[in-house]
Subunit: 117 residues, 2 copies
DNA sequence: CATCTATATGCCTTGACAGGCATATTCCAA
DNA sequence: TTGGAATATGCCTGTCAAGGCATATAGATG
């Protein structure tokens, strides 16, 4: 989860992942399409590998990398577990004020855009 | 998207976001619960703010931060647009070989675990 | 105004990381 | 075996970001 996010935080790595969504590719192809130097691609692929995001498959001379669904699925599930919250809306300021203090001093904090007035 | 990932890549910031999923909180509370120094929390919140992940709402002396659903939704959609792919499976090595070369020299690259032989 | 609280900012240091480049390694072919 | 293609690794450098700390700022209150 954390490692997944760190891995994807790097722009070029995100590009690599997006590229691999279309199917497995060897290192050279990736470097070619993204206009990166081969060594950097190898390094990025190492990070992605230790994050479990890709898997290598030797094919003769080349090493073909393919995406690994698990980490993306987990990220998806993480988001999914809170999906309903933002569909609802979680800017319930009152909730905090009530929960934190219990006092009744939360004087109408609805400066938001109330969808249903 | 990219900024969302970078923002969440930092462990403490991810914690802050997870914390705010339960509702808005003032800076001090966040620092308190996560056992972080207040200045660092303010800095993290600034990053989260410029990533659009949180929004501040001044309440008297304090500044209450609340989550902003949009970036998380976008991340969710990004994953969602590929969700079916990993449900299917995208380790179609043949696809690459055919697509890239068109040549007939892809000699039975199925070293994978063929689910349906 | 004096002061206290809550928060933001600035400065500094340190560590991590990405890119560039040379080189090692692996595999294939002749 | 020699050579060449594909890839990984090691070294170096520069940059950037995070933490620690002191301090500035804003609002409340007496």
């Amino acid at each position: 989860m954390q490692s997944t996010l760190s891995a994807l935080a790097e722009p070029n790595r995100l590009h690599i992942v997006e590229l691999l969504l279309d199917g497995p590719l060897p290192v050279g192809e990736i470097a070619d399409r993204l206009e990166l130097n081969q060594p950097q691609v190898s390094k990025h692929l190492r990070v992605l590998t230790s994050a479990g995001l890709v898997e290598v498959q030797p094919e003769a001379n080349r090493r073909i990398y393919k995406l690994q669904p698990k980490p993306l699925q987990e990220l998806d599930e993480w988001l999914g577990s809170y999906r309903r919250m933002w569909e609802d809306r979680f800017d319930r300021l009152d909730a905090y004020l009530l929960e934190l203090q219990g006092k009744a001093n939360h004087q109408n904090a609805s400066k938001q855009d109330p969808k249903q007035p």
